[in-house]
Amino acid sequence: MTRRFDAFWAVFAREVRGAARSRTYLLLGFALTLVVFGLAQAGDGPSAGYIPTVVDVLLVVEVLVPAVAFAVGYRSIADDEIRGTLDVLATYPLPPWVYVAGVYAGRAVALLSVVLVPLVVLGAVVAVSAGPATTVFATHRGVDSPLLYVRFLALTAAFACTALAIAVAISALADSRRRAILLALVGLLVVVVGADVTVLRALTGGLVDADLGILLGLSPASAYRGLVFETVLYVAFSERAGFVSVPVAGIGLLGWSVASLLVATLAIMGRRA
């Protein structure tokens, strides 16, 4: 167990160190900061409170977070494949699942730094510029609260990690940089709109007879959007939003993550064939 943890830590540390030295991640963080601050300022959310700010940035975060996740993850395993590092690592006592976990965890640290730092700073701006209606605890509907914003950050982090897991799986399936880019673009489209469109097509086409809230929970973007509506923006509604089934959405995000990492592990195990 100790050896496996050491091996995990070696891979994890390599990823974190690589990210810390990369100017690309810095650039991504800077670009994300510009976009979310620009939107928030345009909507005047920070002066109105946390909930208005979340409303201002939600749509863009929903698109940009998976885009950043794919930028961080699409070459994570493909580069090791192209360099022949996977062949070399196969001769070490490093099980594929430990390698995948190390790569994923290391990239997740980089991704969360890029995604959360701008949003945390935005939250700090709200804290110093919001009106007196903002309180620490949202004791009843219509009341704003920094804890709701923290919940938004946690959900955004979970969504980012799910998108990253999908990107890592796609990276494991690519055997060249060009294919990695193409697959990443396809994967990004699926995450951002593809799954939603499929669910809606299935419903309108009468292919399935299920509750929309449950089906939307199976799509990563809808699950995230629904969870934000149900657990953060609910204070703005007089009744439950009913946008998505919260348990299904939570399980949906977790399921996509676990399934994607499993695909990545199986792809590496299958290289010997």
């Binding site: 050896r3 390599r14 990369s22 360099r83 062949d87 070399v88 196969a90």
Partner: protein, 239 residues
């Protein structure tokens, strides 16, 4: 020469309708250097990858029969490439940590102890190869498998690489190496396996092979293998 550390028995490998290896049996004894030679596309790299467990044989099997080890086999790919942005020491440390080895000692053993802070992208081709050998040595594996470790290197560096291989074998390791550098193979190898079109043409000591033609090894080699256009097709298919 001691018992076999690595043994391939009746190994075949096909890629679609292309046969890369057909019924190949070799053994790699401890304390010796076994060289796999043959024309391009003869199946050397495919055989080495199967011996390393990186590729499954379509038929036959490979068994490790050496001493118990954390990492039974060290592998140097044909063109080792390391993640840019890291120094020589950091790269060695990454691999060493996977098997609880000492990265400084690994670098010292291949003569890279003086350049621990050099970025890997600033290493020469020869130094990159040496770093690859340092990586292959991590965990003290009883078997070392090296795919054309001297290709593209100047004669001095090529000789240095083969000197390291000889020293490893003298230390008791089983070394299996593919190479086109016949003079170096002739000097360093204890046994030579000549492959052609996926089959073992002959396997013997360098001295015995020389005796076949009475000249240097390349004359024997030329007389054993057939030049054929299908070779290039096989090369593409086996990569």
């Amino acid at each position: 020469m001691t018992d076999a550390y690595l043994r391939a028995t009746g190994v075949s490998r096909t890629f679609g309708d292309v046969t890369a290896l057909a019924d190949v049996s070799v053994e790699i004894p401890g304390g010796s250097v076994v060289a796999l030679i043959g024309p391009n596309g003869s199946g050397k790299t495919t055989l080495l990858r199967i011996l390393c467990g990186l590729l499954s044989p379509s038929d036959g099997d490979v068994s490790y029969e050496g001493p118990p080890a954390t990492r039974p086999l060290g592998y140097l790919p044909q063109a080792p490439t390391f993640r840019p942005g890291y120094t020589t020491a950091e790269t060695a440390a990454f691999y060493a940590r996977l098997v609880d080895d000492d990265p400084t000692e690994l670098l010292e053993r291949v003569g890279l102890g003086a350049v621990p802070d050099r970025p890997v992208e600033a290493l020469s081709g020869g130094m990159t190869r040496l770093l690859g050998i340092a990586q292959a040595l991590a965990g003290d594996p009883p078997v070392m498998a090296l795919d054309e470790p001297a290709s593209g290197l100047d004669p001095v560096m090529s000789r240095r690489v083969f000197d390291i291989l000889e020293a490893l074998a003298d230390g008791g390791r089983a070394v299996v190496v593919t190479s086109h550098d016949l003079p170096l193979v002739e000097r360093a190898a204890d046994r030579i396996v000549v492959l052609d079109r996926g089959s073992v043409v002959v396997a013997d000591t360098p001295a015995a092979l020389r005796e076949r033609t009475g000249g240097p090894l390349h004359e024997t080699f030329t007389s054993l293998v057939e030049a054929d256009d299908t070779v290039s097709i096989r090369t593409e298919a086996t990569r």
